[in-house]
Symmetry: none
Subunit: 226 residues, 2 copies
DNA sequence: TCTTAATGTTACAGAAATATTACAAATTAA
DNA sequence: TTAATTTGTAATATTTCTGTAACATTAAGA
């Protein structure tokens, strides 16, 4: 199970980039463009981690940080601070105020992603599990293996990614377009019907004699793992 | 028995990250945020290795280095320097002043950890494991020997490092890029297909009649030891 | 029931990834 | 120095995967 991440950051473009990519990795993401509202929403959202901009129009990141640390429900919420270059001197202060890590803008998404996972691994290991499990299906991202009822299954690269995708959000129905966008590399143009064929291949591979069908077709909507 | 490591570095977040992870690996770790105090504590602590920041608020890394080299008790203490990007030109100078290795910030913990072990392996083999074993495969890092089912196998230097790499994380699938980054010396540019050839050579060497294949090809992902 | 649109299934050719081989250049040992 | 070993790459062979088109089947509404 992947975790929930909340973002408080006033630069919409950053929020968009980060949110989109984190969702692609299977995180559930919510965000706010300013401090005060963000604080409220955050407490409703109950994330596993907070990405927090250092400089916000209304409150400073530090203030938010302190507020959060005072709230017993969020005392141990991991926080990663996003700072701009030149605010370096403030780093120590930031860390003293209870930040778990910081990333300096501009950053690459990969860098951020690595930091997020590192922090989560310390604070909440199960949300960055390398194994995705659903029913009697198990997918190991590190070893790149898939098992159904402990029996190993061989999948081609695309079928592997497809299954990985479904496993990050089981039960949810995805349209062909959503599947294409996430599972296929960017800028690749494939016929939407192609997905049907891959679904077929995946089904054929993961279906075991006597066991129930795991991929549901939702007519006019798409597919889901059930 | 794992050794003791001392860290002198003024960025608290780095210290925290590194210290935490090293302790997880079984090292005993102590640290200081500035040079003068660090020097004193270090000499009390008597580490097997020192991680030293290049730029410190009070003393420069070089000064500390020289101080240590003058002290007959610590003349041969292995030192790994942490430098920021842009200080590259200083590298050689750093190495001349008796540093054993350096790591450029930002670094991944894995990178640092590998360097630490490499340095310790040279200077103080007993504090770091020197035999890697997987299945009926055994690699001795000190004697640079490899055995399969107790039968010695001759490997070229590159194949040796390649196997050593796989043995540090068996089962895990590595991409060609990851392999290149870790197994080849820094800044060397080799074709990614070259790895295929070395994999082939390694396979040829370690495969024994009748025994199972040990290197798995994972299409679109890389290779792993299984 | 008939019609139509959506999905399932199959086969196949081209594409892409990996395996293998040979060789020249570079490095090391003798 | 010469000989032997090791390395990286390019060329070629082989394997596996992919996307599409064509046809089959199913579901839902008229």
């Amino acid at each position: 199970m992947k975790g929930k991440i909340f973002i408080i950051e006033d630069e919409a473009s950053i929020v968009q980039l980060v949110q989109h990519n984190l969702e692609k990795e299977g995180f559930v993401v919510s965000s706010s463009l300013n401090g005060n509202e963000g604080l409220k929403e955050l407490k409703k959202f109950e994330p596993n981690l907070l990405l927090l901009d250092w400089m916000l129009p209304d409150l400073s990141g530090i203030d938010i940080c302190k507020n959060i640390r005072r709230d017993s429900n969020f005392k141990s919420l991991p926080i990663i601070m996003l700072t701009a270059k030149g605010e370096e001197e403030d780093k120590v202060k930031g860390l003293e105020s209870g930040v778990d890590d910081y990333v300096t803008k501009p950053f690459s998404f990969n860098e951020l992603s690595a930091r997020i996972k590192a922090v989560l691994r310390r604070s909440d290991p199960k949300v960055v599990a390398n194994e995705l499990i659903f029913d009697d299906l198990k997918l190991d991202r590190i070893e790149k293996r898939v098992f159904r009822s402990d029996k190993e299954i061989q999948l081609g690269p695309t079928e592997f990614r497809l299954l990985e995708f479904f496993l990050t959000n089981p039960k949810r129905v995805y349209s062909r377009d959503q599947i294409l966008e996430t599972v296929w590399p960017n800028n690749v143009n494939v016929e939407s019907r192609t997905i049907d064929v891959h679904i077929r291949r995946l089904r054929q591979s993961i279906n075991i004699e006597g066991k129930k069908e795991l991929i549901r077709t939702v007519r006019a909507s798409g597919y889901s793992l059930v």
